[in-house]
């Protein structure tokens, strides 16, 4: 008989009049809350949500050699033809790059290697930054649908979009499969399909980044929509008396100054909420002004 250990299972519990399903995906704790009394239905819906999260993780993970990203990196500068889903993701990345005047850049991951955000005082030399910046810059890649060419030495990372996309993807599957209200929460990025049976909204607590997992900054009563939170609080480095967060500006190779500790945005979808909160953070001290100009629902801490 097979000796293979099982995959990480879904754990389902009844809390109040909801079913709460929990599992791990995209290196994050994931939760799906289902407003149903039928256990079998909860199992089926939670399974669908998890499978979609894993599908997206496996397809776009930069850690896997068999993912789309792995294929692009393995091509080492040669053109790669991508499918419709990847093309749409690259279109979205290109749009965010343009809308942020270059601050949002899926090729900026390489910069991470130059910096150590451990609360210490070490900052990289200008030479080290310049060396890393050689391999950074969306404009250096060529994206002509459906062919994507990434120069050798450069890397792409969909981490800034992947979780929000998975939330919306899972939510679409659940909405198609059932009329029940649900809340999908992948690592803090979430989507609620509508108010619960008793008419009440879902109560969401936004984590206090200064005491992650322990304290809640504020509560949001979410009836419908996507809620995404971005922030710069946890990892930092000290330099000349200033505290520099870990969000890097690919145009300079340096951290974005005075980015908000935590910004939560509410939007019709989790992807829109996520992109608005990320773009806001990249504006540093201009985060609030940016969100105001966009007419967004947001909270900055």
């Amino acid at each position: 008989m097979s000796e293979r250990a099982g995959e990480d299972p879904i754990r389902i519990e009844r809390t109040g009049d909801l079913f709460a399903a929990r599992f791990t995906a995209m290196a994050s704790p994931c939760e799906v809350l289902l407003d149903t009394d039928v256990r079998a239905e909860a199992f089926a819906l939670a399974g669908r949500a998890r499978r979609e999260a894993l599908r997206i993780e496996r397809k776009f993970s930069r850690y896997r050699t068999d993912s789309v990203v792995g294929r692009i990196h393995a091509a080492r500068g040669r053109p790669v033809s991508v499918d419709d889903e990847t093309a749409a993701l690259l279109d979205l990345a290109a749009l965010c790059h343009q809308l942020s005047q270059g601050r949002f850049d899926i090729t900026s991951g390489v910069l991470r290697r130059a910096w150590v955000f451990d609360g210490g005082e070490h900052v990289p030399s200008p030479e080290r930054i310049a060396e890393a910046l050689v391999h950074v810059g969306w404009d250096k890649a060529s994206w002509r649908r459906p062919v994507f060419t990434l120069p050798e030495g450069m890397e792409i990372d969909f981490g800034g979009l992947g979780k929000e996309y998975a939330v919306d993807g899972a939510a679409a599957l659940l909405a198609a499969a059932s009329r029940r209200a649900f809340l999908v929460n992948f690592g803090g990025d979430l989507f609620a399909s509508g108010p619960r049976r008793d008419g009440e909204p879902w109560a969401v607590g936004v984590d206090d980044p200064e005491a992650t997992g322990e304290r809640v900054l504020y509560r949001v009563d979410l009836a419908r929509g996507g809620l995404a939170t971005s922030g710069d609080a946890r990892r930092f480095v000290r330099w000349q008396g200033r505290r520099l967060g870990h969000l890097l500006d690919p145009r300079t190779g340096w951290p974005v100054e005075d980015a908000p500790r935590s910004v939560s945005v509410l939007a019709p979808t989790c992807l829109e909420a996520g992109m608005l909160s990320t773009l806001a953070c990249l504006h540093g001290p201009g985060a609030a002004a940016f969100l105001e100009a966009q007419g967004a629902e947001y909270r900055i801490a």
Binding site: L271, E272, Q294
Partner: protein
């Protein structure tokens, strides 16, 4: 925070919205394609080949089909076939002369001098098992199974049940179980009267053997990597517990077995067995170390220790290797003898069955698990070598017996192939 429907979206947001919608639409196609239902069936098959040098060969294919349900329930059905052929020790002692032994199954066997005498046999055994698992409330589960098997001279019917409960956020699991078996022994040619010369038979043609067992265990997760457990079981057997074809040699004064007379073996009508086992599972980064120790004792005087070690090593591409070491030692049953003196008093119980004798064994095994490209099934191949020996020169050896090894070492080779498919 509320989504406000009245404020018109800015151009930036509309462009973001359009790109996001295009992405979801493109992804929906792939999501639907990937949305094949979770595995609902599992098929497992193994084939075991077992060779005991110069004695017995067993071929045993087993197939099981399991139906899995989304709520965690499962139902399974398993069939087993054993084909056994070879030579089984009769219990007669080796001697310096050629021996001929007739057996109850009607065969005559002649053994060469100085070797443990054996009798040939062919047998087929078929078994059918049915079972199911039902989770309860996310923290408990019950399992039950039924068993029926049949061979030429032996029928077994029984069932097991088990209940387990998770405590303390699934860190502790408590398990309680039991089983009941009712077996029937119908030896070929009838049942010879125990501890007699083998010419008279018991009036009934079939005799029952009842086994009941209770067990309890507790396992605890000590850390993210380490889980330990402790189990105990107690078994009560009663009925006809004797091996109907085995004999005890009557030894002449010079140590040679008497060629003309023999004694059929006889064992008590009840047996109470106990076992305690401690085991540990330790997870390294990808690999797993399994270790267990079992102490067994019963009211026939047999005590044994078993130490079992296995190391599961994950290899690239989801293959794995499991080396295995097992050490076993057992004391003899109180009524185990290497033969009885001719003309002496006949004891109440006696057996020369080496499986109740003072024996030790070492097992070395290796399992290799692998998958083939483009095929969803999982394969395993396992080889095991068992060397078994006992104290073949007991102090009680008489005469020429002292020159002979009454319990020679035995080598057993097994090869098992396995296949699992989920669909």
């Amino acid at each position: 925070m509320q989504l406000s429907p009245t404020r018109p979206a800015t151009a930036l947001r509309l462009r973001l919205r359009a790109a996001a919608a295009a992405l979801l639409a493109a992804g929906a196609v792939n999501a639907a394609r990937a949305e094949t239902p979770a595995a609902r069936w599992q098929f497992d098959a193994t084939g075991l080949g077992y060779v005991e040098r110069s004695r017995t060969v067993v071929i045993e294919p087993v197939a099981r089909i399991t139906r899995l349900f989304e709520s965690g329930q499962s139902l399974w059905l398993q069939t087993t076939l054993d084909a056994m052929t070879g030579a089984s020790p009769t219990g007669a002692q080796p001697s310096g002369r050629v021996q001929t032994v007739t057996s109850a199954s009607g065969t005559v066997s002649t053994s060469t001098a100085n070797q443990v005498p054996t009798a040939p046999f062919h047998d087929f055994r078929g078994a059918l098992d049915l079972g199911g698992v039902q989770p309860l409330g996310g923290i408990a589960s019950i399992a039950a199974s039924g068993h029926y098997s049949r061979e030429k001279d032996y029928t077994s019917r029984g069932g097991t049940g088990q209940f387990s409960l998770d405590l303390d956020r699934h860190l502790i699991t408590v398990t309680v179980g039991g089983s009941l078996y009712r077996d029937t022994v119908t030896p070929v040619g009838g049942i010879r009267v125990p501890l007699s010369d083998g010419t008279s038979f018991l009036p009934e043609g079939a005799l029952p053997r009842r086994t009941s067992e209770g067990s309890a265990g507790i396992s605890r997760v000590l850390s993210r990597r380490w889980m330990v457990s402790l189990n105990g079981s107690r078994t009560h057997e009663e009925g006809y517990l004797t091996e109907p074809y085995k004999i005890v040699s009557l030894i002449e004064g010079d140590g040679t077995p008497s060629p003309d007379s023999l004694l059929t073996e006889g064992r008590p009508g009840t047996r109470n067995r106990n076992a305690l086992m401690a085991s540990s599972v330790y997870h390294l980064t990808d690999d797993v170390l399994y270790a267990s120790y079992r102490y067994y004792w019963d009211d026939w005087g047999v005590r044994s220790h078993t130490l079992d070690l296995k190391y599961h090593e994950e290899l690239p591409l989801h293959d794995y290797l499991v080396p295995h070491l097992r050490l076993y030692t057992q004391t003899r049953a109180d009524f185990f003898v290497f033969g009885l003196p001719q003309g002496g008093a006949v004891p109440r119980y006696a057996t020369s069955d080496l499986r109740l004798g003072p024996l030790h064994s070492v097992t070395l095994g290796l399992t290799y698990g692998f998958t083939l490209p483009d095929h969803p099934g999982e394969f395993t191949i396992r080889g095991e070598y068992i060397h078994q020996w006992g104290d073949g020169h007991p102090a009680s050896a008489i005469g020429v017996q002292q020159q002979l090894d009454l319990f020679p070492g035995e080598d057993v080779y097994t090869v098992t192939g396995g296949y699992t498919l989920r669909f």
